[in-house]
Symmetry: C2
Subunit: 167 residues, 2 copies
DNA sequence: CAGAATAAGTCAACAAGACTGCCGTAATCC
DNA sequence: GGATTACGGCAGTCTTGTTGACTTATTCTG
């Protein structure tokens, strides 16, 4: 207002900039989940099944409580989904060697096929976006998203999962 | 495998890279919605109320069908949420001047207060992440997310909303 | 101007996926 | 041997999404 020629108000820009970020998250997440959701609904599953199958595939031998920590839902919510996945032969359970109370989760062949099918749509979406945006933009994307998520889980995305040593 | 000294397998890296992106989306969205969700639950509202209030605040005078296009949900789902928001005095409706079938939506004072309170948590999260990441990273973040979302909605995030001319 | 199309809303029924609270069992830790 | 932990089950509730069918008011169109 003091000087209309000096360019847009930096406070307004900042507000605009932040709202744009919020909206980008909304639209991107909305579209990023739409394709898998459709496949899932064909077989009577929902998004929760995808999440479980995804992370079990990502961390073979993961325990129920580790999965709960990642998903940030209650045991009861997970157990319903997990029960179906085990029942229908997508996921196998076996007792932990060191701690036999644990039920280590792994994908069965059927589960691997489903996980691939679901995640492929998302992988393709990312591959296309990454290709168009270029390596530098991708680095920025990662930096910002890591700043948005809670720090406690950074360890999970910063290094690829190793074999957990459980057997 | 052919030459272990030649550095990591580019195909593996690519797979790892894409999975990391998928997981970043999951974690960031999970944490980005957690704070508003908690506030909402105090007043008996859910995430759907936040979304409606957010976009009505963003596009004052928006029509129901425009809101439906943004949210990508059914009329019935929206109308339940909208009904409560109008009933409780968060949102006002008025007939469109050009087309009197339309009910143009706007935030009442109560709605503006709530929207501010909810979105503030997300704005702060973004402000912190943007500040830490720097302008270049932010540009990359935007480029990638715009590549992930469907193109049809790009217009909505590329320019700030103008006054729609309805009155 | 009559009929089709559109904007919005309504009722009913249903399902997924979250939640709380409580209880049980087996294994481990101290 | 008693507390804790890992996991599972049951019951009930809520939000938010869905489909399908129908109504009303208004606008558009041939």
């Amino acid at each position: 207002m003091a000087d209309p020629k000096s360019g847009p108000n930096p406070l307004f820009l900042r507000e605009e900039e932040l709202r744009q970020g919020i909206e980008l998250m909304f639209y991107a997440y909305r579209d990023f989940t739409a394709e898998p959701d459709e496949i899932l609904s064909e077989i009577g599953f929902g998004r929760a099944h995808h999440r479980a199958v995804y992370f079990i595939g990502r961390y073979p031998g993961i325990t129920v409580s580790e999965l709960l920590e990642i998903l940030q839902i209650t045991k009861q919510s997970l157990s319903r989904v997990l029960g179906q996945l085990v029942q229908l032969g997508y996921v196998t359970q076996r007792p932990g060697a060191r701690d036999r109370r644990q039920r280590l989760l792994e994908l069965a062949e059927k589960g691997r096929v489903l996980e691939q099918r679901l995640t492929d749509t998302q992988r393709q979406r990312f591959a296309r976006a990454y290709r168009r945006a270029g390596a530098e933009a991708v680095a920025g994307f990662r930096t910002v998203l890591m700043g948005i998520m809670e720090e406690k889980d950074l360890k999970r995305v910063q290094r690829p999962p190793e074999d957990s040593g459980r057997k």
